[in-house]
Point group: C2
Chain length 135, copies 2
């Protein structure tokens, strides 16, 4: 997770929450985050797939929220961008060693439990609550 995708996704969703009813262009969003518009559109792909946002093509098109922000919890946003284990990559250890042979199994359960705790913490806040901090 050494990438900014969670921050970007959340930034986008906060902008949309703060501008409900309007269509925001990827160019505008990119200007707020200070990244490239193509990156924004890429991030939007995922958010769209997960049903958080909807978009309209063509002139005067743009993006808007597809759900009420009180029905989106931050852990869902995290899950939508999650790709790899949060505690990092594992190795391909020596199968002829007692520890090497088993470590990845034990790391898996450890990582699962730890990440579950993180997700639960994120689950305590809705997008609306998070967005309301901005004033």
């Amino acid at each position: 997770m050494n990438n900014g995708r969670f921050a970007i996704a959340l930034h986008i969703l906060v902008l949309l929450t703060k501008n409900q009813g309007e269509l925001l262009s990827s160019e505008y969003i990119a200007g707020s985050i200070n990244i490239n518009a193509a990156m924004v559109r890429k991030a939007l792909q995922g958010l769209k797939q997960k049903g958080f946002v909807q978009s309209k093509e063509g002139k005067h098109g743009g993006v808007s929220l597809a759900k009420n922000p009180q029905d989106i919890i931050l852990s869902q946003i995290y899950s939508s961008i999650r790709e790899t284990a949060i505690l990092g990559s594992k190795q391909q250890p020596n199968p002829n060693c007692l520890v090497g042979k088993q470590i990845n199994t034990h790391l898996d359960t450890l990582y699962r439990d730890a990440e579950k705790a993180l997700v639960e913490a994120l689950g305590k806040q809705t997008l609306l609550e998070f967005a309301q901090k901005f004033k």
Copy 2:
């Protein structure tokens, strides 16, 4: 955290726990993890600094635990390798935008809380308990 440092550190410490009293060489450890010995020695630097391991130079030298494995909790190991926010990097957003101006502050507190939950989960297990799973 898209790196394998936590897995490597834990692997090393489990090996040392399973071989208390002995001195393990970085070459031997590297063979179990299946990485380069210089990488192991680099990982050991940190573990040594944090007081988890001690080493002996020269012929017949090697590394051993510096504490009882029941006195090391997994969250301490995590903290010792931790460098960046676990939920990923942030952006440098537009300060002229209401959301852009404040997002990093709010992300900071969110990240802190989420990571705290993860650390607490890791804190529930000692190195000894983890190592005892290997048999």
